[in-house]
């Protein structure tokens, strides 16, 4: 079996699993307890925060630990919107965001906020002009993802950030960085980012934990109230072992980012070539996109069928963003990127990690070619019968 679904989740590093087990074993104390075991847990969390902050080159006090990106995105968007609604009630995002961002905005819309959803071009990118044209005096937040999870499109975050601040210095900028960290360089200060979401299991850390970077001086309305953990932004007993293990993964991912980009791009380019070469497949991802995401479709063939055919040959790929795989409608994101209904319902995503080799790609090629061979007669039969 070869796992080609790293954009959905990644295998944790062995070191991460070891850290997780050891810390879980030794440091089960509640960080809020004032005995020694509690105090020790506080120290571990403090150190974890420092390590995460240094991987992002920000201050420790700007790192809020969360249960993952869904919570991070919800807290960033709703927390900022509710906190700053006195300044205005206009928000901007794109049509290709992850569900945890998109649905948060839909909810805010119901609560009386005005939301502008920006379209994207055929490469999946928003245009700077559309952003600058939408920013108003009462725009309090812009939320744009770094790398799109379905197609791998990279948004020009640095230009977007600078332009937002030029148009309205009080408009906050949130970036869902889940698919970008560890894959591409990240520079929050240069990008003028105020809020930045990460999820540990996308960079070989444990599931159920993540980070929200909150620029110093910024306030958010907490969504979970109770204790005063995480600077009062997120009540609930801290998940010490997960935070420490995430810090480990984050340090490893940030150290390896440059080689990840280089090595994985080479494999990605080879897979692109293979897909272009197979008759009937439409390649949708671009060389200019993220190094680890390939997207293509086999128009006429429902994605599940191709996916399962590949699975029988030991190749695990994805039909859509994992969080919405169980829906039957074609992907909202792919349609927004200009794919036809037929293409969108036959889309397949292959996503890579730094553990993949040239040999893996050769096996993938073999599986792809034979799967398409196997399915083609069905497709033609279907067409003729229509």
């Amino acid at each position: 079996m070869i796992y080609w679904d790293h954009a959905a989740s990644t295998p944790p590093y062995e070191e991460v699993i070891r850290t997780l087990t050891e810390v879980m074993n030794k440091h089960y104390g509640n960080p809020s307890s004032i005995h020694q075991l509690g105090g020790n847990a506080v120290k571990l969390i403090t150190r974890a925060r420092e390590v995460c902050a240094s991987a992002l080159q920000v201050k420790s006090s700007e790192i809020v630990f969360t249960s993952g990106a869904t919570e991070g995105n919800n807290l960033a968007i709703k927390g900022a919107a509710l906190q700053y609604m006195g300044r205005g009630k206009h928000l901007i995002t794109t049509t290709v965001e992850h569900a945890s961002v998109y649905e948060s905005f839909l909810q805010l819309q119901q609560w009386g906020f005005e939301v502008t959803f920006l379209p994207v071009d055929s490469h999946g990118c928003v245009t700077i002009e559309s952003i600058t044209a939408s920013i108003r005096k009462d725009t309090i937040l812009v939320s744009i993802m770094h790398v799109n999870n379905e197609m791998g499109a990279i948004q020009p975050i640095e230009t977007i950030g600078t332009e937002i601040k030029r148009c309205n210095s009080r408009t906050l900028f949130h970036v869902d960085g889940v698919q970008g960290f560890g894959k591409l360089p990240v520079d929050l200060n240069r990008w003028c980012v105020d809020l930045y979401t990460l999820s540990a299991h996308k960079f070989r850390g444990p599931k159920g934990t993540g980070i929200l970077y909150v620029r110093e001086g910024l306030k958010l309305t907490p969504l979970l109230t109770g204790g005063s953990q995480e600077f009062g932004l997120r009540a609930g007993t801290e998940n010490t072992p997960h935070f420490v293990a995430m810090a480990k993964a984050m340090r490893m991912a940030s150290v390896r980012q440059t080689s990840f980009t280089k090595d994985v791009s080479i494999l990605r380019d080879r897979i692109h070539g293979i897909i272009r070469d197979i008759q009937g497949l439409h390649l949708h991802s671009h060389e200019s996109g993220a190094p680890h995401i390939v997207h293509f479709s086999y128009p006429g063939m429902k994605s599940e069928v191709l996916m399962h055919t590949l699975e029988l040959q030991g190749m695990l790929v994805s039909t859509r963003s994992a969080c919405s795989s169980k829906h039957t409608k074609p992907s909202r994101v792919l349609l927004a990127m200009g794919l036809s209904n037929e293409e969108a319902s036959s889309g397949i995503r292959i996503s890579l990690g730094d553990s993949h080799t040239e040999e893996d790609v050769s096996q993938l090629e073999h599986a792809l070619r034979s799967a398409v061979e196997e399915l083609r007669p069905l497709l033609e039969k279907g067409r003729n019968g229509r």
Partner: protein, 409 residues
């Protein structure tokens, strides 16, 4: 953003101190060198009354933040360096002002200084040359000789010329360790670390003394003090911390039927212990974080009754400061967040509901006489005092059983 070539550091008041000057300058130089260790590209040059920090490509901002904390440095100017040639000086001045991107009308003047007398134009001529070049090119500039908003300084030396306008004030004071040694009572609260920093800024070497009363205080309270001392060691280079077991002395004061005087009695014993440690360590004073009237033990009457327990001079750097000023320094020097951690220290235990604000010295002294073994307990506490030396980058080795295993991260 402006790219600077060099930082010019000016020394503070100690420069006046005749014979000691060289020793003081060397001490500051070493301090500067140690805070600039994280910036491998920088090079340092020491000259009369100044230190030049050549950035060699490092950005100026972070080194400036670090240097602002170095005791003995009065001010810092980020400088652009050019050749000592008229055209280069004019061109560089022009580019400098252009980079400032002035939006509104601004008054300015040029203060040229020809240090290298062989340079063809006098200081006065240079003021004129540079000034007219800028006036011609930047509409928003107006000359004001008396109160200019922008004073462009041009220092012409034989090898190169320095151009700058900003003078960023730094912490000032005396080089570290240049004014003798004192013992400081470090409680773990907000005030005493600020008192320590203020003393160190005045060139005093401070050794910290902390009293703990296990099991009435937790191990965490002690560790918090160790962490505070570690932060302070960032300013001092290294800090000696004496941890005094105080349980016996403290509990001997309970049950005397004089609960209102307990704080007075405790503070007097602390001073006696600190004085004995001072004698052992060769320190000549005791520093406290007292601020007049802040709590019962810091009223004038209390300070009078407490202070008589020692003959050493008692230095109280915060005595006339308001709490808000103290808090703001604590935040600046990075001790505040540690200080507000909620672990009880030995002063907050056994505190009566209404401690005496006007303790009667005669009653205090008679209670002390009635505890016959008080002196022995004090000597015993000194005997059992643990001493540790803390450095800013010291690893867990100073700490017993740090839970943080670096391997996990």
């Amino acid at each position: 953003m402006m790219i600077y070539d060099m930082l010019l550091l000016r020394f503070g008041e100690f420069i006046l101190k005749g014979k000691n000057r060289r020793r003081f300058e060397n001490s500051v130089f070493l301090h500067v060198k140690s805070v600039l260790e994280p910036f491998p590209l920088v090079e340092l040059r020491n000259e009369f009354g100044r230190i030049y920090v050549y950035l060699n490509g490092e950005t100026a901002n972070e080194p400036i933040q670090a240097l602002k904390k170095v005791f003995g440095i009065a001010s810092i100017s980020p400088v652009i360096v050019c050749k000592s040639e008229l055209d280069d000086i004019l061109g560089t001045s022009y580019r400098y002002v252009e980079e400032l991107n002035l939006q509104k009308s601004t008054t300015f003047k040029v203060s040229a200084r020809r240090v290298w007398k062989k340079f063809a134009h006098s200081s006065h001529e240079m003021n004129h040359h540079v000034g007219s070049k800028l006036l011609k090119n930047f509409e928003m500039l107006d000359v004001s000789m008396k109160h200019p908003e922008l004073e462009l300084r041009v220092e012409i030396r034989e090898t190169e010329t320095y151009i700058f306008f900003e003078v960023i004030s730094a912490v000032g004071g005396f080089p570290r360790g240049s004014n003798g040694k004192a013992m400081l009572l470090l409680s773990g609260g907000i005030d005493s670390p600020v008192a320590a920093w203020s003393s160190m800024r005045r060139g005093l070497t401070t050794e910290c003394v902390h009293f703990y009363s296990y099991p009435f205080t937790s191990q965490l309270a002690k560790e918090k003090v160790i962490d505070l001392a570690k932060v302070l060691s960032g300013y001092a280079g290294e800090i000696k911390l004496h941890l005094v077991p105080f349980t016996e002395v403290q509990t001997s004061f309970t049950g005397q039927g004089q609960d209102k005087l307990i704080i007075t009695l405790m503070r007097r014993s602390m001073l006696r212990i600190a004085a004995l440690l001072a004698e052992r360590e060769g320190a000549l004073a005791i520093v406290t974080g007292d601020s007049l009237g802040q709590v019962a033990s810091q009223t004038l009457s209390s300070m009078n009754a407490i202070g008589r327990a020692t003959e050493l001079p008692l230095l109280r750097p915060l005595i006339m400061m308001d709490k808000n000023e103290i808090i703001s320094i604590a935040k600046d020097i990075g001790t505040y967040d540690l200080s507000i951690q909620p672990y009880e220290d030995c002063c907050t235990l056994f505190v009566p509901d209404s401690p005496a604000t006007k303790p009667n010295l005669r009653i205090v002294e008679s209670i002390e006489r009635s505890i016959t073994n008080l002196n022995d307990m004090i000597l015993d506490a000194v005997e059992r005092t643990e001493t540790m030396v803390l450095t800013p980058n010291g690893d867990g080795s100073t700490k017993v059983d740090s839970p943080v295993e670096e391997d996990w991260f």
